[in-house]
Amino acid sequence: MRRHLVARLWQSLIVVVLVTTISFVIIRLAPGDPFSYDAGNLRPEIRDHWREQFGYNQPVPVQFVHYVTSVLRGQFGYSFAMHESVSKALAEAVPRTLLLGGVALGLSFLFGVVVGVLQAVGRGGWFDRISTSTLVVLYSLPDFWGALLILLIFAYWWPILPAGNIVDSTLHDYLSGWGRIADRLKHLVLPVSALTLLTTAGVARFQRAAMLDVLPADYIRTARAKGLTEREVIWKHALRTALTPMVTLLGLALPGLLGGTLFIESVFSWPGMGQLAAAAISRRDYDLVTAVVVVGSVIVVIGNLIADVLHMAIDPRVRE
């Protein structure tokens, strides 16, 4: 198991290095650069002066060597979109995204597992049919469109929740401790709901399939024969086995969730990694784009590693 883990760590490192190199090159191949943004009074000679000052007029390989050298020194560069060091911008944005993504991931697995189990138990029944149709509709909604729809309903037509931002831009700093917590929760509701709704469907489909595999098994029949209640059979015995593939799904869901936050954060003005990435790409903020991609890949790699470890811990066959 230890050797397997070490090998996975090396693989992960190679993935991160490759992702860094590819993103570094691709963003530089895109038209424009950090100083080609639309500003009427910014003359070409000033743009050229700034390019020279920050080394963006040098060949890409030279820029790459400079970048790697500074990263090894612990400096990720300067963000022109955020007007601060890349490290500082990431330090502020990453926890916000993890909060949003973490809560949404937790809720979507909770709801997805429950719905999936209920669907499998009542296979072919009214709940299975209605919930399957609903989830398929949600699953096929584009993230951006779904989020906009939620925003339109709950922030504009029926304005009961804030339309965006992480806290109330004005009042938050002046609220009491509990008031601030309530304010944060209120602002979390819409983006988390959007992200949860769009992820739950996939989880539920997986859980339903896993349960349907387990329910006909001999040990389930034995459990029923022993006189256990149906609740105990389903939620204690069947679910425990049917959760194993969900651990793998948890690792795989992370990249999708990170991708989803990019849209959700933009729609709900949530100042996390998604919004940071959108701003960085549109401004060709080279250092920030590269750093966001690297951090994203690290999160995905860690997610996969955790899934691997959990899988090994749960399933003795993998350990062997």
């Binding site: 080609s36 002066h49 922030a155 339309a163 965006g164 931002n165 831009s169 009042l171 002046y174 100042p271």
Partner: protein, 554 residues
């Protein structure tokens, strides 16, 4: 003998205004929070680096200039300018220097007095090549600034020009040496200090959460009187949702409400329209050279008859009404009507598709069996590029495509991401381009945009006519405003006659503001010119207006 200017009357008026402000404050006339939903964060807010609208808006609230330009934006001499940091100024007899007396009451937001040394430091920073300020090229006539005494700064000029006062008073914003003076010039761009501003304006800086929000609050001890609003918060908002936030009352202000949806503001309970005629105009320029080339003539647009025909085939009035309804303003030529030297008697050739078709026929572009024109086997087909950052230009692109189709010209409209659009614009890599020029109040801006000297810079489609150059030179060196206008008009007419572009509309931005705000008059160079005088009546205030200026809870 040049004028010396001692603004006793204006100063008295200001003093009266200040005392009135104090009584209003006591009566609760001040207060209110403006949430400005902005689709973009500021590019920079430290004056030498400001390039965008949000940055300029904030710069103008937090900092002061030596003198403030008048509402009519006159740029010749010092007429129309009113005191700001300088309470008076005296011209040297030879007009090669101006001595500015700093108002002794002026204080930086950290409490230190504003001095002449700050003025000298600001000028030095703007023109320092290591800084690379976008403003530097406009200050080439300024030789230096010296300090006569702690409250007198003398600006020295290389030569006498009609706009030398404007150059020094309008282009330069003063910032404190004791805060920024220790930062090496080449590090100012990335220094944390330039994100935490100390100014002297009626609002002071609170914080900038990059990519998220910027907050400024009223400077209650300001020597010009406190701002009537307590605070302004610029919140970065996704373009797709800023409208929803405004219409639901969660935000109070947004710039450039989509022109095709302005009618929604008339019936909305929260927001109303606030039209703002800008110093700018939009046009479709035709490249007379082959894309990317600087010498090879364009197969279509190098022929002035084709340019004229295309210009005449466009129903500019109908397009204006289609996009802006009744609110649009038709462009007259290479100048906005808000410019001081604008001439409303100038017009491009009128809409006449019959004449346009005849002109194309006579220049060899004949209609083929498919209804499209061709000449020597080459179809009358070209690409028109625009940037997605402008919804209005996008709408115009589609309308132009349809108008040209009617006379047998095929247009491929390419609406590009700004980062893809700008490099192509500067490289001349286009057949035709939809562009807007935002100008400064001076006719000098026209030289940069349409003069031969601007080629390689703002004159990105390389229009060149030496008659225009000479006329614009005469205009910018005329001390008599009437003569400046005459020369400018002749230059504008000559450009129109050359038809390098089709003039579409003057920039009229319809901003949207929450109905509870009483706004002050806007000015063509910025809707925010009198933002410090916006107010919210006590009976219209909502929770966020009543916070006051209390410190946030820890």
């Amino acid at each position: 003998m040049r004028k010396s200017f001692f603004l006793v009357a204006a100063f008295s008026a200001f003093a009266a205004c200040s005392s009135k402000e104090g009584s209003q404050s006591a009566a609760g006339a001040t207060g209110g929070t403006l949430i400005f939903a902005s689709s973009s964060d500021a590019d920079a807010i430290f004056p030498p680096f400001v390039t965008d609208i949000t940055g300029r808006m904030l710069e103008d609230q937090i900092f002061d200039r030596l003198a403030e330009i008048g509402p009519d934006l006159r740029t010749v001499g010092d007429q129309g300018f009113s005191p700001r940091l300088a309470q008076k100024w005296v011209w040297a007899p030879d007009s090669l220097s101006i001595a500015f007396s700093i108002d002794p009451r002026a204080r930086w937001h950290d409490g230190k007095p504003v001095t002449a040394a700050d003025v000298r430091y600001s000028f030095k920073t703007y023109v320092d090549p290591k800084v690379g300020s976008p403003v530097a090229p406009t200050l080439t006539n300024l030789d230096s600034v010296s300090v006569r005494d702690s409250l007198t700064a003398v600006a020295w000029f290389k030569k006498r020009t009609p706009e030398q006062f404007y150059d020094v008073a309008y282009q330069v914003v003063i910032f404190p040496e004791h805060v920024y003076g220790n930062i090496p010039p080449e590090q100012l761009h990335t220094s944390d200090a330039t994100r935490k501003l100390v100014g002297s304006g009626r609002f002071r800086f609170v914080k900038w959460d990059a990519g998220s929000r910027i907050e400024i609050v009223s400077d209650t001890a300001n020597f010009r009187g406190r701002a009537k609003l307590d605070r302004v918060i610029v919140v970065k908002t996704d373009p797709a949702t800023e409208k929803a936030q405004l219409l639901s009352g969660q935000a109070d202000f947004m710039e450039a409400f989509p022109p095709d949806q302005i009618a929604k503001l008339d019936s909305n309970a929260f927001a109303r329209a606030l039209a703002f005629p800008q110093l700018g105009y939009t046009f479709m320029a035709m490249n007379v050279f082959t894309p990317k080339s600087k010498t090879v003539p364009h197969p279509i647009f190098s022929d002035i008859r084709v340019r004229r025909a295309l210009s005449m085939s466009v129903d500019r009035v109908a397009m204006l009404r289609n996009v802006f309804g009744e609110r649009g303003r038709l462009a007259h030529g290479p100048f906005p009507m808000t410019l001081g030297v604008a001439d409303s008697t100038i017009h491009p050739a009128g809409y006449d598709t019959t004449a346009a078709k005849a002109m194309l026929d006579s220049s060899g572009w004949r209609v083929g069996p498919n209804g499209m024109r061709a000449k020597n086997g080459r179809p009358l087909r070209f690409t028109l590029i625009s940037a997605t950052s402008s919804i209005t230009r996008g709408l115009y692109g589609v309308l132009l495509q349809e108008q040209f189709r009617k006379i047998g010209a095929q247009v491929d409209f390419d609406n590009l991401d700004p980062q893809a659009y700008l490099p192509r614009m500067f490289a001349g890599d286009f057949d035709a381009i939809l562009g807007s020029y935002g100008t400064d109040p001076s006719v000098t801006g026209t030289k940069q945009n349409w003069g031969t000297a601007g080629i390689g810079g703002q004159n990105f489609f390389r229009y060149s006519n030496h008659t225009v150059d000479a006329l614009l030179d005469s205009a910018t060196s005329a001390f008599d405003p009437a003569k400046m206008k005459t020369y400018s008009s002749r230059a504008f007419q000559t450009i129109i006659d050359d038809i390098p572009a089709i003039w579409l509309y003057d920039l009229l931005v319809v901003n949207a503001v929450n109905r509870r705000f009483d706004t002050a008059p806007t000015r063509a160079d910025g809707w925010w010119a009198n933002l410090a005088d916006w107010s919210v009546a006590p009976n219209k205030r909502i929770d966020r207006d009543r916070i006051g200026l209390a410190q946030p809870k820890p």
